[in-house]
Symmetry: C2
Subunit: 649 residues, 2 copies
């Protein structure tokens, strides 16, 4: 199946519209000012100035991370999605202006990278391991495709194609070419997008080359290190193991998901695309193995991945501590991209379920309610007073930070939210199956049998599981509407024009398929009962033993100190408790559902504060506890937060 083109989707959703509006009205203009160093007091970016230097228009020294170019690329990609939502002359003018700079900064042979043009012109393609050259190019290509698709303007697509052509001349297995690949995957998935936009199969093949060459022996990065030592080139970062780069083995020989989590999911995304494009069974099995390893053994309940702060990476199976987690926002964004690609490979709800789980929790937690502050790390348990004192928590923050020096996560979450429309539906043309993966109020247009079919989805998800679909078509058209029934539903109801459709046993890999001839005005109503679910972990997750977490629909809940008390781990709750759902608008203006329930806490009066250890079983008192959606935490005053709560029997 294939995605629905983003310009055929319009999100009209109480929940998501606010985020999209934030991106459009605040974040994109704000990010533009930062890229142009127009905001006093904010750390220098120099991103656009670097491109001017590469164009030879201004003199100066490169400033920023070696992958500074990608900040502009991610902005341009986000801006493109914003333009897809709504024309915006100012924004288009900014974009066109910067594209002109890119054109002038591009070297005669097609090469475009400011760090290696301005700072280290002799070292082009000599530090693939840490130089992020192909990575930056990948982001630029993604931006180019997005801008082209949003505006129809092709200048940036030509720039991107020239970049890719140059790479194609440099990299490959042919004699005289470099047999390298980037230390940070991204180019691979970008080249597939470029192929799909241009229909030039060369780009697809180059992507396949990059993926297939990765991790082969002798390892390219080891050889590159030797070559760099010979010429005395300095290291850009401290040395790391090959598995950090997900380059420890050929992709089809990897047994577990290793390395830097963002690198991993970007690579796996490309593997999924290539498996589909080439119908490559070995690649398909390989990427499914990675999926199973992560989802079954290495993923937080928030969808966060990467449990080690050092190197922001995977560790070992079931090692999922809640306080020392990394679970980078960028990794969540990449995980969603990958999940959608898995769905394209296999029409199975388990991919969509995870995509939704990551989206509403580990990804959305990365951004504050006002859109101005961001988490890189998304912990499941925080005690702020420890953060300055335990070195093993140095990377965890108790409050979201404003745009950082290394600005990877903020623009990444922005481009995800701006392009959210693409993840809602997909269409299998051969079987005429129109899949609904996400329940987000929206309107789409899809051509089916030569007819333009409109589907209008409405509802109040994720707070309410009552979702409506209205079909509009000029004349009756036969197709199958395939509605995802999330695995967390143990029942559901569907009516078409008010008549009950028979359900559960007709599920096809988690999708309820309604095949019929649809008339304009046909109305489908889906009811997903949203019960509070008390979740437990596999007992191999040491940190969750004896604990439960609370979910409702796709939303993971957490306790915050402000709603409860200090020392959240002391709060105990019975799985059999009656969890009251309370709709409140104190945090989210448009309202959100909190959980209120009876719990137990230590009777502090019966504690002897001078006894650290004692034999007595301390008295427990009833306590009225309140949980809020995890993604909303840290939007009030700083305090403790906890997802996994002690189970009290």
């Amino acid at each position: 199946m294939k995605p629905i083109s983003l310009n055929k989707v319009e999100i009209k959703d109480k929940f998501w519209t606010r985020w999209q509006r934030l991106i459009k009205d605040d974040i994109v203009p704000y990010q533009w000012s930062i890229l142009n160093d127009q905001i006093p007091g904010v750390e220098k970016s120099q991103t656009i100035e670097n491109f001017r230097m590469a164009a030879g228009e201004v003199k100066g020294e490169f400033y920023g991370m070696v992958f500074q170019d990608s900040d502009l690329a991610k902005w341009l990609e986000t801006a493109s999605y914003v333009l897809t939502m709504e024309r915006n002359e100012q924004l288009e003018q900014w974009a066109d202006g910067v594209i002109d700079i890119l054109e002038r900064a591009q070297q005669a042979d097609g090469y475009l990278n400011t760090y290696f043009t301005v700072a280290e012109p002799d070292l082009r393609w000599k530090n693939l391991k840490d130089g992020h050259e192909l990575y930056c190019a990948g982001h630029m290509i993604e931006a180019a495709v997005a801008y082209y698709e949003a505006t129809g303007k092709s200048k940036i697509l030509h720039i991107a194609s020239k970049m890719a052509d140059q790479m194609d001349a440099v990299f490959g297995i042919e004699e005289g070419k470099l047999r390298g690949y980037d230390g940070h995957p991204e180019i691979e998935l970008a080249l597939i997008r470029l192929y799909r936009a241009t229909n030039n199969r060369k780009y697809l093949n180059l992507s396949k080359y990059f993926v297939e060459e990765r991790g082969r022996k002798p390892n390219y990065f080891d050889q590159e290190d030797i070559e760099r030592q010979k010429i005395g080139a300095k290291n850009l970062t401290p040395p790391k193991e090959l598995d950090y780069y997900v380059a420890h083995a050929p992709v089809t020989e990897m047994e577990t998901a290793e390395g830097h989590a963002v690198r991993a999911v970007y690579l796996f995304s490309a593997m999924a695309d290539l498996a589909a494009e080439y119908q490559d069974q070995a690649l398909l099995q390989a990427v499914k193995k990675m999926w199973q390893n992560i989802v079954n053994k290495r993923m937080y309940i928030t969808g966060g991945i990467g449990s080690s702060g050092l190197h922001e990476r995977f560790t070992v199976d079931y090692d999922l501590p809640n306080d020392r987690v990394y679970a980078e926002t960028c990794a969540s964004v990449g995980f969603i991209m990958w999940a959608y690609r898995m769905l394209e490979l296999e029409e199975d709800r388990r991919y969509a379920d995870v995509m939704e789980q990551v989206l509403y929790n580990g990804a959305l937690s990365g951004i504050s309610l006002d859109g101005k502050k961001y988490f890189y790390v998304n912990p499941l348990e925080v005690k702020p007073s420890l953060l300055g004192h335990r070195n093993d928590l140095y990377f965890v923050k108790g409050e979201r930070q404003s745009w950082y020096g290394c600005a990877c996560c903020p623009p990444n979450i922005a481009r995800l939210l701006a392009s959210l429309g693409q993840y809602i539906y997909s269409y299998n043309e051969a079987r005429k199956n129109l899949f609904v993966h996400l329940y987000i109020g929206s309107q789409i247009e899809q051509e089916i049998e030569g007819q333009l079919v409109q589907i209008n989805q409405t509802g109040h998800y994720p707070w309410n599981g009552d979702i409506q679909f209205q079909v509009a078509t000029e004349s009756p058209v036969h197709f199958t509407l395939a509605l995802r029934i999330p695995a967390w539903c143990d029942s559901f109801e569907i009516t078409v024009n008010g008549e009950r459709v028979e359900t559960m046993d007709s599920l096809d890999k988690g999708y309820l398929k309604i095949a019929r001839t649809w008339n304009s005005g046909d109305r489908v109503e889906l009811l997903l009962p949203m019960k509070v679910r008390v979740m437990r972990s596999n007992p191999l997750v040491r940190d969750n033993v004896g604990k439960i977490s609370l979910l409702r629909g796709p939303i993971v809940y957490c306790l915050e100190q402000i709603d409860n008390k200090e020392n959240l781990p002391d709060i105990g709750v019975s799985a059999k408790t009656d969890f009251q759902t309370v709709f409140a608008n104190d945090l989210l203006e448009e309202g959100a559902i909190n959980l209120e329930f009876d719990a137990w806490v230590t009777d502090s009066l019966s504690l002897n504060v001078d006894e650290l250890y004692f034999q007595t079983e301390v008295k427990r008192n009833p306590f009225q506890a309140k949980a809020i959606p995890y993604f909303l935490w840290a939007n009030r005053e700083p305090g403790e937060m906890l997802v996994w709560i002690k189970e009290e029997k």
Copy 2:
């Protein structure tokens, strides 16, 4: 009250004699070979060779840590205690030989330190913060006093006195003297020992100066840094905060126990001694405040202290994670030294209880059963497969290591065990109270009212609480025998010559005092019932919420994988379970008491291994669990270990 001189105590105890024999027969000769670089394949020490260089007898470069001298000092101190137990010509010959080298290495002015004599002769006393000069001197002084007391030979005492005289000329508040103190306390307590051995009050005053000057403003270390920068002297270690050195405030103004745990307890030991010597109430209150802070808020149940791996230090109240703990063996040794000094200040069992708790758990766990391997870090929870993968556990080992490059803990635990006799008793002459703090089979002699009284203590502690005392004296003598009733006893029985003594309400700060005229042959029998105690933590200890630990007598128990199963955190036990005590000699030849009990584990067949998170409450199966004494862990094959066990209701 005062200690009983070590040469008046002979340990005859099934439990402790094995450790003392190990020290005497294996560890002291082995350490001697290492100090002399006589063991092939073991990392170079060069300790004694450094002294030869300082003596100008051989040429070469200093090798080792800046505090390498202290290795020899700790060995010599241990060897002295061994000589106190039993004459040993070979050992005495080694010691005399090395003392001759020390004499020749000592500079004309009394200065003795190989690093600053051989490697940086111009920088003497210029890096008190990190140079360990006074620290090494302190250990040499402790060794000198111990050797003098063991053998009566005074050469080393003269060397030590000359060292102290030189320091006294250099340091102090008088015009022209340095107002410094060492970054690592040790000299302070050593000078008090030197004063007590020589009766030269100058040394006591110098110790008082070092303690009182510490942490005053402007901070000496800050000023020293500036001076060192001026002369371009290199840093010996990375910069650290003043609190790491326990030099962030004057000692009487410290509110909590901060910094490197070993530094802290060495300083607090000296504070306790000085409070006693000068009857200094401010110092007494200050050191009691530190004690309360640690014991009530910053101590593991094993007596381990220092919960941060980075800087081996205290963090904040109740921050006591079981896996990321440091709890250095050296800190336990210092804690015991300090606890005994607190006892001398106040005849209160709470100090002896802690001393015992540290001794049998956090200290003894530092050494393997064969005496050849050592833990620096003493964790309460280990999963070996994580250790190579989680950077936040980099300092934790799953197996004891042989003598390291930085050999602080092995000789420290050796000197503790060799001098254990000094901690058993003490005597308050004014009140004629003979205190028994530890129940260790032993024979002592104490002069009381001009009579030499012998007390013979027998029993099978710590496995059995039935302890006998037999008095031998030439003629009847009146004194009070004060027996510690540990706080963990809720009842006990005492008979004198078979007759019950009335008990509980006659306890005086935890000591049962039997005042009478004692005749030779009088026999006291003490029965401390040893029940298994199920302990809980203050709920502010986040990592122990919902968990219990098992103790019996002074012994903390732990689960090891080899006796149970993988994934120990999954094992649940009810506090009401009947814990069977089983005497077994599989680990400790002479036998030890293990605990066997009914527990519960997840029914793995009812687990879906492909589900990381689920709603179902997984079936629990009965499981026969076994716990062993914590100090015995890691003496078989590597595997998981756990002290705090999930409570299952």
